[in-house]
Symmetry: C2
Subunit: 318 residues, 2 copies
């Protein structure tokens, strides 16, 4: 598993939502051999390609190598998982045909506990994870609006960055994606939760509100901070010390977003699955194993779980 990462790797993209199309199109445009596993909208993507619009660029990948099954793709050097975590029960079927002895599997999923289900299928030594700070929306099959190209941070599952981690980061850099290899993926995931847990969560639990409303409401603003404090204490107990001013930074950052609808609220409203377990459930469970008190986080988890169960809207396929 320490074989050199090839200069022009064979790449599989599993999932053709906003992130899969965005990163896949960039990697293909940079001259890589990219194969897309597409569940819905394959005909449209094969006919019209993938179109990406960013604030500064328009990318049109005309010829897309799109497939219905992983067996048609076969073994790759790099497999990028761009499915929602809520579809992870499909990994056991989707991944094995894509694996060779040195294949790296990079999951782009949000939240905690997203590398583990991949590791169960392919073995932990193959697994990398990325945190994507990016604003992308799929408006139609293969049509991606990217409002904020942002930054990707890549790390190894359960160990510090390796030579191969930096090679994968360079691959993205060459494709026009700001990307850094990081030593502590798990800590980065906890840090991302410090924003996602309160703002995605309260936006849903307080009746479908934008982040400016949370900041303007004295109770909810205080509650957002208490939730952050619970996360910091739990993170510290599992070994990740996040400095307290990091919380202030989240509030400052959020103030600049204005009338912002967090992605989970949009998904909730449109009847799509949301990462309930990865963003709220898993931190609760990890906090409990180390005896960190998370009463508000747990309450938020239970409330959102119930609101999701009651959601009338039918789940739309992506």
């Amino acid at each position: 598993m320490n074989a050199p990462f090839p200069e022009k790797p064979r790449i599989a993209i599993v999932g053709s939502g906003a992130l899969g199309c965005y990163y896949g199109a960039r990697l293909a445009k940079a001259g890589n051999d990219v194969h897309f596993l597409v569940h819905s909208g394959r005909a449209a993507i094969m006919a019209r390609g993938i179109r990406v619009k960013t604030p500064t660029e328009r990318i049109h990948l005309k010829k897309v190598q799109a497939y219905a099954t992983s067996a048609e793709i076969g073994a790759c050097d790099l497999v990028i998982i761009a499915l929602k975590a809520t579809a992870n029960d499909k990994l056991a079927k989707l991944l094995p045909p894509l694996m060779g002895p040195n294949t790296l599997v990079l999951t782009l999923q949000n939240g905690l506990g997203v590398e583990e289900p991949v590791a169960e299928v392919v073995g932990g030594e193959h697994v990398l994870g990325a945190i994507c700070f990016v604003g992308c929306t799929r408006t139609a099959p293969g049509v991606i609006q990217c409002s904020f190209p942002g930054l990707m941070m890549i790390g190894e599952f359960g160990r510090p960055a390796q030579a191969r981690t930096r090679d994968v980061a360079k691959l993205f850099e060459r494709a026009g994606v700001k990307c850094e290899a990081q030593d502590n993926l798990e800590e980065l995931r906890w840090k991302k939760l410090v924003w996602n847990v309160p703002f995605n969560g309260l936006a849903i639990a307080a009746g479908g509100i934008t982040t400016d409303v949370i900041l303007a409401d004295e109770g909810l603003r205080t509650l957002a901070r208490r939730l952050m404090e619970e996360l910091l204490e739990a993170a510290a107990k599992v070994g990740h010390v996040i400095p307290r001013p990091f919380m202030d930074l989240q509030f400052e950052r959020t103030a600049k977003l204005g009338r912002y609808s967090p992605s989970s609220l949009i998904d909730f409203r449109e009847g799509r699955p949301i990462e309930l377990e990865e963003i709220w459930g898993e931190p609760v469970r990890r906090a409990k194993t180390v005896g960190a008190p998370v009463p508000r986080l747990e309450m938020l988890y239970w409330l959102i779980k119930r609101l999701l169960a009651a959601r009338k809207t039918t789940v739309k396929p992506r």
Copy 2:
């Protein structure tokens, strides 16, 4: 203030919703001199009287002494406050004309901190409070459906029951209302919160659900118990020891209610005011003054407060 309570007292009923009409009609039918202060629907009440339907009785009070102002009523021996606590800002205007040197003022309001605003206006030594376990709905001005006549418990504000407390209880008993004089009104109020806080609260905060859904949802059921535990700890710290099996009793009682919509949920849905401060806000504040941790109760308070603020429905007058 220890003058004997008269055998046939002059009574004022402030507020003509379900409870005011129900108890007022019973007291008048028992031969008492009852004067109703009626804000809305006075013409209807004067024309058609008050009609009460219980599971076993039909009461029709044909001639109702109804008034638009307290000055027209004048001093009484007993003033019964049957307004919602959310209308308490009107007490400073409504009560003084009804007061004589020995007048007793009995508030029927729900929650904590409802005697204090009355005491501020008339002096604490005049104040009694009651907890009403009763199911009454006003279907039209002066028309009351009583599904459950239940029980009333009466106590003094800040001291044990006196001779006069028992006299008032007997007055209600003679009017066909099961009524007990109790020594510790404040403790009874905390005990009632043990049901009201979780079940009224989660019914609203979890998206508008009935109590059977709370019981059937593992997270919400656990959350209801955690909220009860927070209340028990806070109550103990302010001096009211509620035995832990009292919590189990609440769950058993609730299971028997079936698909029950708590009154606050009905009020919330119909756009009427709810006792946010008396049921959720005040116990939070009292817990904090004695250093009792109430993270979930406070979170519930903040969430309901926000949901109320966002409620689109116009407030209907009662």
